[in-house]
Amino acid sequence: MKQIMIDVNLCNGCLTCTLACSAAHSLSQEIVGAMSEKTPTRIKILPVKGRAVPLMCRHCEQPACVDACMTGAMQKDPCTGIVSNEGNDQTCVGCWMCIMACPYGAINQHPTEKVALKCDRCKDREIPSCVESCPNKALRFTEVNAFADERAINVAAALIAAD
């Protein structure tokens, strides 16, 4: 299954992904409009020691947030693998149990509505909006094993080159 994989070394903190995420989840579907709608972003760029670290929900195989959710709103779609508290029969009440459970801190309180806010991997798009917008290719929407294999090959190549 495809996941959003992050190469931290390629991120330079330009925050374009946060703007694209807002735009994708806004009514106007574009950046300037999203800013006046004040649509919040679901991807975060964390400042750590002068570096920028992108983070969004990992859509875990065994999501702690799904266990924690006491309304049943947070679910993992068995087909797409997307973990989301939106679009299901059960609705989120903003009890923040999921925030308590997520080890990445990838879930936030929505700034204005009393619901939990998290990445939904752009359910309605072929490629998540953040991935599409990243000018540095720090975000990739790819099969997990493909990502791992590519990295392994790169490391191997570097080892050979160092010889």
């Binding site: 964390l46 750590v48 983070l55 266990d67 309304t71 009890c95 308590m100 080890p103 990445y104 801190g105």
Partner: protein, 418 residues
């Protein structure tokens, strides 16, 4: 394979759906005393407040049981279990056989014995029926006294305050939420609710429910009320007792099952009797922080335990990890708060890091022992709760300075190997 689950709430439902995902063929039967599709008891205060209706309390869609091919025996009370014959005996005489049995019967409200406690105006808040009874009682009510300033009591207080009632909370301990939060966190939250007009009486418990007849005799008015430990009287039309719960172990009495306050289980959710598992508010598990075996009556743990139990019932050995007993998330007006682990440490071996800004409704408290994080309170800003929680569950010696740990922008990025 026939899996029988007694209980239709967090643990039971999670176990059932996990079982179905793991084994498309097995027979799965849920037995529950309440005649409703599974609902969230955590949402009962919303029902009291009028912000949700009964249907919207459901935790799964209407077609959940059918879609997952789960047979349900709702409205049927399980009376006893025969561990040798592998049978569950239901009220009315029938019985259900099992290959694997999961006890997920949850807990019942603890009503303390005291004079006047059988008053019809005294309620608990545990299940839907309780909530409906309260709704009926408050139609003509003005004043409500809530005994117990814990999680349930405060949620109910806020809900009923929203209905327009005058609410007084009586808590025996010196501060509200005494189990999970410390005095400083409790102060911020109490102030927030007090500003609305909810009244708090702290440091005093009650000793008697004043019966209508008594009051009526003295004052010619048919009023109920409570009498505090020191003798002070509070008038009340409705009284809610929310001072805790007891594990619902009724069904497994006389089975020879090892019982403590609840049903202790091993790493694989197994009781001491073969083929019998327990999960949820009824089960006792090892606390990841304290190492002690005990009850952890909180929804996320119940749900997780149900899921783990299902794996083991399905024949896949899977141990539970990282269950913390003390944890909760609250938000009444606008101030959210989360507590995890050991939040009120006693003893010299703990180190406490605090950032207390009550004027801005902010509080962060981290408790360490041997440079390992064992407890956390967050008030006002709660986004970091899960990250601190993960550190608590990992039980790793911290490689970060305390300054970094306490930063307002401390994030997963600080743990990521850059």
């Amino acid at each position: 394979m026939q899996h029988v689950i007694i209980g239709n709430s967090a643990a039971g439902v999670r176990a059932a759906e996990t079982l179905r995902a793991l084994d498309p063929e097995a027979k799965i039967i849920i037995i529950a005393e309440e005649n409703h599709p599974a609902y969230s008891r955590c949402l009962l205060p919303d029902l009291l407040a009028g912000s949700r209706d009964e249907l919207s309390l459901q935790i799964r869609s209407d077609d959940f049981y059918v879609k997952n091919n789960i047979q349900t025996l709702l409205g049927k009370k399980a009376n006893s279990v025969d561990p040798v014959a592998h049978k569950v005996n239901l009220e009315g005489g029938s019985s259900v056989s099992y290959d694997k049995l999961l006890i997920a019967t949850g807990a019942i409200s603890f009503i303390p014995p005291m004079p006047g406690i059988n008053n019809p105006n005294v309620f608990a808040l545990r299940d839907l029926r309780d909530a409906k009874n309260i709704l009926q009682a408050i139609e003509k009510a003005r004043r409500i006294v809530i005994v117990g300033g814990g999680f349930v009591g405060l949620e109910a207080a806020y809900a009923l305050y929203h209905r327009g009632l005058e609410v007084t909370i009586v808590e025996k301990m010196p501060h509200i939420l005494p189990q999970q939060f410390d005095a400083q966190a409790a102060e911020i939250l109490k102030r927030d609710m007090q500003a609305e007009g909810i009244r708090f009486i702290l440091g005093r418990g009650i000793k008697e429910i004043a019966a209508p007849r008594l009051w009526g005799r003295l004052f010619g008015r048919p009023e109920t009320g409570v009498i505090l430990e020191d003798g002070e009287r509070l008038k009340a039309d409705v009284i809610l007792i929310s001072i805790g719960t007891r594990a619902n172990i009724e069904v497994i009495k006389h089975t020879g099952i090892l019982v403590n306050q609840g049903i202790p289980v091993n790493d694989f959710m197994e009781t001491n009797l073969p083929d019998i598992y327990a999960a949820g508010d009824v089960a006792e598990t090892k606390d990841a922080v304290t190492g002690k075996i005990g009850l952890t009556p909180i929804w996320p743990n119940a749900s997780t335990q149900g899921r783990i139990a299902a794996y083991n019932m399905a024949g896949i050995k899977k141990a539970y990890t990282g269950l913390i007993g003390m944890q909760n998330a609250v938000e009444f007006r606008e101030v959210p708060a989360i507590a995890l682990g050991i939040t009120q440490p006693v003893g010299d071996e703990y180190e406490i890091l605090q950032d207390y800004r009550p004027d801005r409704n902010l509080y962060k408290k981290l408790v360490l022992r041997n440079n390992i994080l064992v407890g956390m309170i967050l008030v006002g800003r709660i986004e970091q709760a899960g990250i601190y929680g993960a550190l608590i569950k990992k039980k790793q010696e911290l490689k970060l300075s305390h300054q970094v740990l306490m930063r307002d922008d401390f994030s997963y990025g600080h743990l990521y190997p850059l």
